[in-house]
Structures are given as C-alpha cells and as structure tokens.
Subunit: 315 residues, 2 copies
C-alpha cells in the first residue's frame, strides 16, 4: 500500500500557537503491544499487508457479521496511549487555563500522548511527597508514563514566620524532592523521564499587593525562592534527572516581571516562556513517539480495517 | 477537624477564561475505592480522625522510618481519577490549541477529572467505529470514564463525487454512530455518559477558498452537513443519549461565520461557543464529582498524613 507523495497534502489547521509539529510520517503503525519506554525506542513499523491476514471486505452500509468479527478480534487490543504527568502546585493546576503551558504541551503532543494535570494549588513538597504514590502507581500506568514534571518550591519557600502553613525548610524541600524521584525510580519511571522544575522568581512588589489585599504581610522573598531553586538544581544533579531552572532563566539578562501575573503565578508570557523551555527538554525524547493511528490520507479507503487495525489483528 | 469559614479565602488565580469553578467544598475526601459512575453518586465523605488510625507524627526533616511505613501503606491505593474522553475528528484533535474547547474543558474540570483528546483529523465515522474499541476498553478504564463526546460528521458529509475518500453515506453515518453508542454501552459506559455532537455548519465561501488553494473544488455543502446533523440528533433520540446540535445552535438567529476559522474548523469564538454549550450539558452531571484531594487550606499542617492519606489508610 503506497501513497504517492503528491497525495500527502498539508492538513488544514486552525491557527496554531506554535510552529506546527512535524507532519506525521506516513504509514506509521504503533504496535498494540508496545508500552511506555519501549515506545520511545521502537522504530516506526511500516505495515505490510501480511499474507496471513485476509483484509476484511470494505465496510459498506450493512456487513454487520464481518464487522462484528473485526470488533471481536480487536476488543481487548487496546492501543497503548503514553502520558506525560505534570505534578506540581498552582502553577501546574492552572496550566490548562487560556494560554497555559499544560494545554500548549498537550497541543504539541496531540496524537502522541496525553498530558495529565496533577497540579495541587497551595501544596508544598511535604504534602506532594505523601500523595505521589496515590497518583502514580507501578505497573502499566508507570510504563506508559513517558515524562513527569515535578514542579514545587513556590509554596515551600514561603517565609516561615509569616506563612508557617506552607513553609517547608530548605533541607526538607531537597529531601522531599529526592524522595519523590526515588519513589518514581522504584516504580520504574527512570531518571531520564523525570524533569524537575524550579519555582519561578518572585516579584515582591506585585505579590505584596496580593498579600496586603488579604490582610497579610509579604509572605515570600525572591532571594529565598532562589535558594530553593538552587537546591532543586542540586537534587537534579545528585539524582541524575533533568532540571529546568526557571528561577534563573527568567531573570537572565531581562526584567522578569512580564512573566508573572500577580508576582507569583505565570502570565501569558510566562506560560509561553515555560512551555518553550520545557519543550526544548521534552522534544528530544518525545519526538520519537509515533503519531497514534495513521494520518487520514494514509488510510486505505477500500480497506480501512487493514490500515487501522492491521497491527492489532496481527498480534 | 473544622476549618473556620473565615479561614477559607479566595484562591489567587491567573486570569481565567471562564467564571471560576465553584470553590471546592471543604473537607471532601474522595474514597479510594470509589470508581467511575459510582463517583457521581457518592456523597462527599467528611473525613474523621478514626480511632483505629493513629495519626503518624508530623513530617519533619528526618522521620524516614515513619514515612516509609506511610508510603508502604499507601502504595497500591491509587486515587481513582475519572476522565472525559473527547472522540472526534480534527475539530476535536485541535481542541487543545490556544483558546480551544478541549483545554477549556480541562481547565474547568481540573482536580475533578482528566480530559483526554482522542481526536483524529480527517477521520470519518466509518473509521472511527473501527478504532473505538482500540481506544476505550471495558473494565476499570470504562468505569472511570464519566463522559464521552462523539463528534463526527464534518468529514462524513463531504460530497461523494468530489471527496469520495472521506464521504460516508448518510444512512451508514447514522448506523456508525449507533454502533459506537452500542459498543460503549456494551462496555458499561451507559447512555447518560455519552454526548453526541453534530458537525458545525459549513461556511461554503470560506471553505471553497481553502479547497481552491489546494486545486480542489468545493467539497462540502452546508445543506448536506445539515442532513448529517439531523441524522445525528435522531440517533441520539433513538439511543437515549444526550446530543449537542451544533449545526442548528450556531445558525440560530445569527450569522455563524464568526464561529469558523476557515469555513470548516472552529475559530476562537466558535471554540468558546462550543465549550459553553457543552458545559451546560456536562455541568449537571460532572459538578457532583468531588475535587480530588483536599483544598490546601483544609490540610492539617500538623498531621498532613491524616488529611491527605486518611481515606486510603482507612481502607
């Protein structure tokens, strides 16, 4: 089944916020049995019309018996759908709001994997460490997890005397991050699939206004948050994971205030900055993921079953 | 453990595209054993400090043994995380792009369920019917699926003589939709969790430009798409599922051209329109879903384990 090159046009797309992803390779056929990390290594399998598979007749208005056979054969041959888990505090929880970095990531990775939001507004690393085993378990779920971002520190670095409820001591923050990475490794989510993200810098004047509006004093300091960011970078080094040092990157030779909406959370520009940076970390490892199910121009209209179910029926 | 009302403040949020969701009810505690549809019916469980559970000591810098015990106890007690599945063509596949209806839905449902994108650009209902069993299987995955949107017809209604590759006859389109609903019911995704969405209206002049740019003739007609929309509504009636008649709603007493970006796909305004309409269908059934894990102000800082793991440890 060969599709002439001139029949593969550019897909009409609604205005994309990013440069469109590379066009899907023709004739990819992710194998039903491939899972998680294996997917990253597995080359695209070019489907052939196997001699042992007699293509079912083209689907017309009424061939229920043949279709029932196909459906029965395919049932239980679930297509593994990888996922990226975003684990963090409010900056993660809000990441699917308009222009958010989570939604942008999901859009870039569409047909490749799901991007699931495990953001918990207000949480610190102490609480995060406790709930992580309730969010990601070992086995198939871990195998299908191709990347995890761990993004805490904005609450941990709250000042102890003004905000003791959220504050976590620096050493414990580092220990908690280490513990989370260790937990993930223990369920076979290897360090190459983990990305730590440091808290962004804090714009004290803007955040102070938010605090004052609630009758509180300024409860965070940029310099303190910077210490937590540094600790996060060190944990990543020690654990052999990737790290995105947002605190440093956002302050590098520029005024970072435009990246924040209220001094603490990300503005639209901050969301774009984060997803751009994160993408440079993820692209290299996730670009190898196959686009799931064939590009529509590659579906044989006479025998869609072969194009769409071929891999599953061969197993 | 009672939190005084005046201690539950409004959470600072970055600019939300929609009215913010209702604040999470205090002290909710979704049960680890509750699943899927059961979650919808299950009332919030107010956690108590059970006499049989001795709260572990507050986590300080170094109580690894106690923490290890907690972690061991919780392992395997995965918090069930419901999901909404968006199944459709390019209008679904592109739904996480900037301002997209899928991302908006995910934002509204954050901490309640995942919204996963199963959009396949260019696909028609004939192909969709074939792949559905590869995307949603029975068992736990079906149980956790609290809603499915089935959104095809924009490609099926392509004109047979100009676009035979995507065209599906009207009767077969209806039969395919019916078959998909039947499949979902067969794996215990009941009709009350299924929403059919009709194709949007087609703005012929704009879409013709797109076709001409590719050297093609206009390959769809609004009147024809309307017949498919009508068939979709009829299938929903016959199957007892909900339906969102986008084709009719977008043309009701208004010029619908603003809802489309290229005559076929949704513009930002069209995305907003769709998510607004869809939300009115989903809100009533998904608003009862508990917000997963406690609101941060409800976490007892002295005994976060009780707040965060209480339900899991009780099982």
């Amino acid at each position: 089944m060969t599709v002439p090159v001139d029949l593969v046009p550019v897909e009409p797309r609604v205005s994309a916020p990013f440069p469109p992803a590379a066009p899907p390779p023709p004739q990819h056929s992710p194998r039903g049995s491939a899972r998680g990390a294996a997917l990253l290594k597995e080359p695209f399998k070019v489907p052939t019309s196997p001699s042992q598979l007699r293509p079912p007749p083209a689907v017309g208005g009424g061939r229920p018996a043949a279709m029932a056979l196909v459906e029965t054969a395919v049932r239980g041959r679930l297509l593994p759908w990888p996922r990226v888990v975003l684990f963090g505090d409010s900056i993660t929880e809000f990441s699917f709001q308009e222009g958010g970095w989570g939604a942008s990531l999901a859009s870039r990775l569409v047909r490749k994997c799901d991007v699931v939001n495990r953001g918990f507004s207000g949480y610190n690393s102490r609480w995060a460490k406790l709930i992580l085993p309730r969010l990601i378990a070992g086995g198939a779920a871990a195998e299908s997890t191709v990347a995890v971002t761990i993004f805490f520190g904005a609450n941990d670095s709250a000042l102890k005397d003004v905000n003791p409820r959220q504050h976590v001591p620096l050493e414990e923050y580092a220990a908690n991050l280490t513990s989370m990475v260790r937990y993930l490794k223990s369920i076979d989510i290897t360090e190459d699939r983990i990305i730590l993200i440091t808290p962004p810098p804090l714009q004290e004047s803007a955040w102070e206004k938010e605090c004052l509006a609630k009758g509180d004093k300024l409860n965070r300091r940029n310099a303190t948050t910077g210490e937590y960011a540094q600790a996060c970078v060190q944990v990543a080094r020690d654990c052999g994971t990737d790290v995105l040092d947002l605190w440093t990157l956002m302050q590098k030779d520029q005024d970072f205030s435009c990246y924040l909406s209220d001094g603490l959370h990300l503005s639209m520009k901050g969301n774009n900055f984060l997803v751009g940076q994160l993408w440079s970390h993820l692209e290299k490892r996730l670009s190898a993921l196959p686009s799931l199910l064939p590009y529509w121009r590659d579906v044989d209209p006479q025998n869609p079953e072969v194009s769409l179910l071929g891999a599953a029926l061969q197993e």
